[in-house]
Symmetry: C2
Amino acid sequence: MITERKEIQEQRMKGYFIEATKDILKGEGLKNISVRNIAERAGYSFATLYNYFKDVKELVFYCVKDFQTECETHVKERTDKTTRGSKKLKAITKAYLEYFIQYPGIFELFFIEKLSDIGGNQEASALIISFLDRLCEEEWNYCIKNKLTTEKDAVRIKTSLLNATTGLLLLYIHRRHPKDYTEYIKLSGNQIEHILNEIGS
Amino acid sequence: MITERKEIQEQRMKGYFIEATKDILKGEGLKNISVRNIAERAGYSFATLYNYFKDVKELVFYCVKDFQTECETHVKERTDKTTRGSKKLKAITKAYLEYFIQYPGIFELFFIEKLSDIGGNQEASALIISFLDRLCEEEWNYCIKNKLTTEKDAVRIKTSLLNATTGLLLLYIHRRHPKDYTEYIKLSGNQIEHILNEIGS
DNA sequence: CAAATTTAATGAACACTGTTAATATCCCCA
DNA sequence: TGGGGATATTAACAGTGTTCATTAAATTTG
């Protein structure tokens, strides 16, 4: 049918813009995101973008999902063989941090960019806030089941972990604190270790 | 002399623009900061601003210092009579959070706005990063002197505190997490308490 | 005090930003 | 091959930060 072809064509077009947006975010970062910039990289006029997305925020919202799955595979790749329990939770959290350090623009998209106004973006916020918990979910279940921690403690430690990682990344990416990468690695490592050492092993 | 008069006149002019900028930041927030907006509120043309500040970032930099002293008095007012030790550290940290919750625009200025490029703004970053530590400095000294904690632990807990507070504020202000203010207060209270309960009392 | 010179305030302009509406182009089907 | 509907595009608007030439004011000098 015609409608089917339209559909795949439309999805293709969306894909071009999304891919362009993702490229810019991973490369130059959030500050270089602009409708003209995205459209040029996608090979279309800036106005064409508005035939497929109601505004640039909606376009950017699609990137969140993509980056999350990308980050998830990044994390799984380097934590798959880690021994289970607190060790694995540490490894997951560190890999999670690694990803955003590699792509500061994605951190900015996730935690700084204001997507709060419109309806669909409440979904984005929820997706972002729950992301680290989702990455860790299976392992937390393992820890609770094996009595390495209690459900109540787990809830509190999860919150600690989200706050600490968010703070660490914001301070390092936007305020260059600590001064250099090696110091950041040392500091973030210590902090994560300390938070997760509350769990038995 | 002539140069003196020029000096106080120049300082007065700078003051007008700084005051206007501070008003906007405290009111509408960082998103409403614009050269035209500031200048209009100060009662001058936008071009006049550039006779006193090399760019809007420099102008905004002056606000950081002012807000820090304002925040410092806010903190001191409501922690002056608190019993010393970990209790006072908790109170200081909570008052610190209070201030930024009251003025989200100031949090954005401190931790999100990129003032990183130029020379003078490295100073601003240093000022911001060390701010909470400076608010707590006297009390940490007290705790160490009275063997409530060690110097080594203090360093780590300070870092924890900075990361946690920064994360808490960013997530609540930019991602509405937790959903409402009462839940935020409960959550942030728990987190701060837990971090500072490592200190004896 | 008047004239000359320095100083400070400004409006126009430029290069950007996001977004909308009208226009031009393409493609499919009769 | 022509007509019509979908789609890509140009033009325009209102906003952003910043620079520069011009104007107006104040200050110094004769």
